[in-house]
C-alpha cells in the first residue's frame, strides 16, 4: 500500500514535470494517446507481474505479441474466419504457449528464464516464418465483416480509448483475484516460499503453471489491441523489447523478482510511469536512441530507491523490536 502511494507520487511528479516543460501534455490529444498506450502496455504488464509474483519471469511476451499480431490478420483476412472465432484462436495460442511454459517450469524444473528466453526466440521466428517476413495488415475491416472487432479494439467508450477501458476492467477483476481470492493468496505464498506452500497441501505446480497461462491470455488480449493500433504488423519488429516494459512496470510497481510481492495497482501505475516518461522524452525532443537510456536509468533508480527504503524500514523494525 505504501509502495503504491510512493509510485503514485512519482507518477504525479513526472506528470507535473512533463507539463511544465511542454504545455501540450494536458492536451486532449496527448492524454488520449497516453491513456491508449497505458492500456496497451498495462494489460500484458499485469500478466508479466503475476508471473513475477509467483516467482517466475516471462521474457517471451514481445514475441508472443508479434505472433498474435500476424495470426490475427491472417485468420480474418486470408482464412475469412468470423471475428469471434479468430479472437478465440489468437487468445488460445498464447494461452497454450503459456501452458507449455508452465509445464516445462514445473514438471521438468527448467528455469523460467531459460524457458521463456527460448520462447522469445522461437515465437519471433515462427511469426517471421509463417508470414515469409512480410508485413501484415487488416485492410478495410468494415468491408470484410470485422468492423465490430475493430471498434472494440481501437474505438472509444465515453471518450476513452478502448485499450484503456479494457485495462481498467481487467485491473479491477485482477485486483479481486490477487488481493481477495484464494488463488491470489496462493500466488503470493508460492512466490514467497513454494516449499512451505506445498507442505500446506496446495498444488503449487498448478498455481505456478496457471500464471503463465494467465500471462498468455493477457498477452493475447494486448496482442489483438496492438494489432489494431499499429494496423501494420512487421513480424521482425512488432513487439520487440516489449516484455521488458512489462517487467520494468512490475518492478517499478513494487513486484519483487524474488517473488511473493506486488500489487495490481502498483503494476498499472508502474506502466503509467513508463509511458509518461516515454511521453516526456518525446515531448522534450530527446531523440529516440537515448530513449532507452533514460528508461533504464529511471527503472534502476526506482529499484535502488526501493532497496534503500526496505533497508530503512528493516532497521526501524529491528529498533522497534529490541
Amino acid at each position: 500500500m505504501k509502495k503504491d502511494l510512493g509510485i503514485f507520487g512519482l507518477l504525479v511528479a513526472l506528470c507535473l514535470i512533463t507539463a511544465s516543460q511542454n504545455h501540450n501534455f494536458f492536451s486532449a490529444t496527448n492524454l488520449t494517446n497516453l491513456s491508449n498506450v497505458i492500456g496497451l502496455f498495462g494489460i500484458f504488464g499485469i500478466g508479466s507481474g503475476l508471473v513475477i509474483i509467483a516467482g517466475g519471469i516471462d521474457l517471451s511476451i514481445g514475441s508472443m505479441i508479434a505472433l498474435v499480431g500476424v495470426l490475427l490478420p491472417m485468420a480474418l483476412r486470408d482464412w475469412h474466419w468470423s471475428w469471434p472465432l479468430a479472437v478465440a484462436f489468437v487468445l488460445a495460442v498464447p494461452m497454450f504457449l503459456g501452458w507449455c511454459h508452465g509445464w516445462l517450469v514445473t514438471r521438468l524444473n527448467i528455469q523460467p528464464f531459460i524457458v521463456t528466453l527460448c520462447g522469445l526466440l522461437i515465437y519471433r521466428g515462427m511469426a517471421r516464418t509463417i508470414t515469409n517476413d512480410t508485413t501484415e495488415g487488416f485492410g478495410d475491416s468494415q468491408a470484410q465483416g470485422f468492423g465490430t472487432l475493430d471498434r472494440l479494439a481501437d474505438g472509444k467508450l465515453f471518450g476513452l480509448p478502448m485499450p484503456f477501458v479494457i485495462l481498467i476492467i481487467i485491473s479491477i477483476v485482477m485486483w479481486f483475484v490477487l488481493h481477495r481470492s484464494v488463488y491470489g493468496r496462493y500466488l503470493l505464498a508460492v512466490g514467497r516460499n513454494e516449499n512451505a506452500t506445498r507442505f500446506s497441501g496446495i498444488n503449487t505446480r498448478q498455481v505456478i503453471s496457471s500464471t503463465y497461462i494467465v500471462a498468455g491470455l493477457l498477452t493475447g488480449i494486448s496482442g489483438i489491441l496492438f494489432a489494431f493500433w499499429t494496423r501494420s504488423i512487421s513480424p521482425a519488429n512488432h513487439g520487440t523489447f516489449w516484455e521488458t516494459y512489462g517487467i520494468a512496470a512490475a518492478v517499478l510497481g513494487g513486484c519483487s523478482l524474488r517473488g511473493g510481492e506486488g500489487s495490481i495497482i502498483g503494476i498499472v501505475i508502474g506502466t503509467a510511469v513508463l509511458q509518461v516518461l516515454q511521453n516526456l522524452v518525446n515531448l522534450l525532443g530527446i531523440r529516440s536512441p537515448r530513449n532507452y537510456v533514460v528508461m533504464g536509468v529511471v527503472v534502476l533508480a526506482g529499484a535502488i530507491f526501493d532497496e534503500v527504503l526496505r533497508r530503512h524500514s528493516a532497521k526501524k523494525l529491528a529498533r522497534a523490536q529490541k
Binding site: 479481486f176 481477495r180 481470492s181 484464494v182 493468496r185 496462493y186 503470493l188 505464498a189 514467497r192 516460499n193 516449499n195 512451505a196 506452500t197 506445498r198 507442505f199 500446506s200 497441501g201 496446495i202 498444488n203 511473493g260 510481492e261 523494525l317 529498533r319 522497534a320 523490536q321 529490541k322
Partner: protein
C-alpha cells in the same frame, strides 16, 4: 570478560555479564533463547561492540573492534550455520583468504596449500583427501573443516554455537571427543548447546545466563540437568512426562509399507493408538523425516497404505492427507513450515483458506478471528495477527505452525523435531499442547533426535535404523540404553514389533 553490557534500542541484552575461561578449559554456556548467549559471543567474536565492561586476555585489557581483530587474538567462531563454500575443496576452504601464492600474479600455490592443509585434517582425525569438494562431505565433516580453519589461524579460543544441532549421534560423540582432545592440546573452548546431555561429557564448567545476566556457574560435578534447567528458567521443572489417562484405541491408525525414496528397499509399517504420543527415535539419517514426508504424500502416490479409524485412505498428495486430518509439522520450520514473509494470519489460514471465503472472496475478518483464537490459546508472543512471522522468535514461529493445523482439528499430527532450537519454556508449552491434543483423541507421531525429549514425552517409542523400525518400546522399557541399542540396529528383548499382523 568482565561486566559486559550491551544495549539495543529498547532492550538491555547484556547487563554486567562476566565470563572467564582458562587455557585448555571447556566452558559450556547455556540459557534460554534470548538470554544473551549469542550477543555475548558476538561481542567476543568482534561482531558487536560492548557498551560497557572490559575484555582481558592473559590479564591485559584488549579491545575487539571487528572480526579480524578477534581472529588476530586467536578467537575463532564456529557458527551454527556453517560458513563453508561447498563448491571448493577442503584445502581452499581451510585457507580461504590466506592462500599461499606465487608472486607476482598471485596464482595459488596448489602444492603448498594441500600440503599445509593436511596436518590440520590429521590432527582432527578427518580422513579425506584435501582436494575433496565440500559438497561431497557430510555436515559433520564440513564442520571439521571449519575447525581446521580455526586451528590454522592458531586459534587459542574456539566458540562453538550449537555445533551438534544437525549431527547424528555418533558424529556428535566424535565431536565431543574432539572437543576434549583440543582441550588437552591447550585450546580453550566455549560451547553453546541446548542439549544438556552433551555438556556432561565435555564441560569443565557450566555458565548459565538468564535475561542478560549471570544466573550461576556450576562446576562439572555440580552440573545436573535439573539444576541447569532451574537456573536457566529460574524455577524447578520436573520431568515433562505426564501419564495420561485419556482412553486409547489401539490400531486407530494403521500404516503399512511406506517406502521413502531414501531407502527404496525398506518399508515401514506401524500401528498407533488414538490418544497416544508415539515417539520416533533413531539416529539422524535413519529415514524418519523421509518416512513422514512420504506418508503425507509429499513424494506423490506410493504403495503405502494408511487406515485411519478403520477407513482406508488414498493419499496421493499433501492435499489428500490434509483433507483426512493428517498434518505434518516439518523439521525445517522456516523453509517448509511457514511462509515467513507473510503475516501470522495468512500463515494460519493458508491450508484451510477455502473455508474463509464467501463467493470466492476471502473474508479477512473471519481469518483474523481464527488467527486471534490460535494466538491466544497457544500464547504466541506477538503484537497482533498482522505481524510478519519472520519477526517472531523460533518458539513463537513453531506455535504458529502448530496453530495453522490446530485450527483444522487434527486427527493425526506428525511433528518432526518439534522443539529444535526452541528455549526450555516454550518447549514445555509445546509438550503440554501435544499431550492435550492426544487427550482430545488425536494420534501424535513425534520424530525427535533429542533423547531427553523422546523419553519425556512419548507413550511408546518406535526406533528406526537405516530405513526400518527395529523395535517399539513400551513406556516401562523406554530407557536410553534400549533406544540406543535399537537405533544402531541391535535387538532388544523388551522391544515389540511395530504392528500386530
Amino acid at each position: 570478560m568482565r561486566g559486559i553490557c550491551k544495549q539495543f534500542p529498547g532492550v538491555v541484552a547484556l547487563d554486567g555479564v562476566s565470563l572467564e575461561i582458562g587455557a585448555g578449559e571447556v566452558v559450556a554456556l547455556v540459557g534460554e533463547n534470548g538470554a544473551g548467549k549469542s550477543t555475548l559471543m558476538k561481542i567476543l567474536g568482534g561482531v558487536y561492540q560492548p557498551d560497557g565492561g572490559e575484555i582481558l586476555i592473559d590479564g591485559k585489557p584488549i579491545s575487539i573492534h571487528n572480526v579480524n581483530d578477534a581472529m588476530r587474538l586467536g578467537i575463532a567462531f564456529i557458527h551454527q550455520e556453517l560458513n563453508v563454500l561447498t563448491n571448493l575443496d577442503v584445502a581452499a576452504n581451510v585457507f580461504l583468504g590466506r592462500e599461499p601464492v606465487f608472486t607476482p600474479f598471485r596464482l595459488i600455490n596448489r602444492r603448498k596449500i594441500h600440503a599445509d592443509a593436511a596436518p590440520f585434517l590429521k590432527r582432527l582425525g578427518l580422513d579425506v583427501p584435501t582436494h575433496t569438494r565440500l559438497d561431497r562431505l557430510s555436515i559433520a565433516q564440513q564442520q571439521l573443516v571449519e575447525i581446521a580453519k580455526a586451528l590454522s589461524l592458531n586459534a587459542r579460543l574456539i566458540i562453538m554455537d550449537e555445533p551438534t544441532s544437525s549431527l547424528t549421534l555418533s558424529e556428535t560423540n566424535r565431536l565431543l571427543d574432539l572437543v576434549c582432545e583440543l582441550r588437552d592440546q591447550g585450546v580453550s573452548i566455549i560451547y553453546i548447546s541446548h542439549r544438556l546431555g552433551e555438556l556432561d561429557r565435555c564441560a569443565d564448567r557450566v555458565v548459565v545466563l538468564r535475561d542478560g545476566k549471570n544466573a550461576g556457574r556450576l562446576s562439572h560435578e555440580e552440573a545436573s540437568h535439573d539444576k541447569m534447567i532451574s537456573l536457566m528458567v529460574g524455577r524447578e521443572i520436573k520431568s515433562f512426562y505426564v501419564e495420561s489417562d485419556a482412553p486409547k484405541t489401539p490400531g486407530f491408525l494403521r500404516v503399512r509399507n511406506i517406502c521413502s525414496p531414501m531407502y527404496p528397499n525398506e518399508t515401514v509399517s506401524f500401528d498407533a493408538s488414538k490418544g497416544e504420543i508415539l515417539g520416533f527415535a533413531g539416529l539422524v539419517g535413519a529415514g524418519r523425516s523421509e518416512m513422514a514426508k512420504t506418508m503425507v504424500g509429499l513424494d506423490g502416490p506410493t504403495g503405502a497404505e494408511v487406515w485411519l479409524g478403520g477407513e482406508k485412505l488414498s493419499i496421493r498428495s499433501p492435499h489428500d492427507s490434509i483433507s483426512h486430518g493428517i498434518y505434518l509439522v516439518p523439521e525445517d520450520r522456516r523453509g517448509e513450515g511457514l511462509v515467513v514473509g507473510m503475516s501470522i494470519r495468512e500463515n494460519i489460514t493458508l491450508p484451510s483458506l477455502p473455508r474463509f471465503t464467501r463467493m470466492g472472496l476471502i473474508q479477512r475478518s473471519r481469518e483474523r478471528k481464527t488467527a486471534d483464537d490460535q494466538i491466544s490459546s497457544l500464547k504466541v508472543k506477538t503484537p497482533g495477527a498482522e505481524t510478519m512471522v519472520v519477526n517472531l522468535s523460533g518458539g513463537n514461529q513453531q506455535k504458529v505452525v502448530l496453530g495453522k493445523w490446530l485450527a483444522m482439528q487434527p486427527r493425526v499430527m506428525i511433528l518432526d523435531e518439534p522443539t529444535r532450537g526452541i528455549d526450555v519454556g516454550a518447549k514445555a508449552e509445546i509438550y503440554r499442547l501435544m499431550r492435550e491434543l492426544a487427550a482430545q483423541g488425536a494420534v501424535i507421531l513425534m520424530i525427535s533426535s533429542d533423547m531427553e525429549e523422546v523419553l519425556h514425552v512419548s507413550d511408546r517409542v518406535a526406533v528406526m535404523h537405516e530405513g526400518k523400525i527395529t523395535g517399539v518400546l513400551e513406556r516401562p522399557d523406554c530407557s536410553e540404553e534400549n533406544i540406543m541399542q535399537l537405533a544402531v540396529g541391535r535387538t532388544v528383548a523388551a522391544a515389540k514389533p511395530p504392528f500386530a499382523p
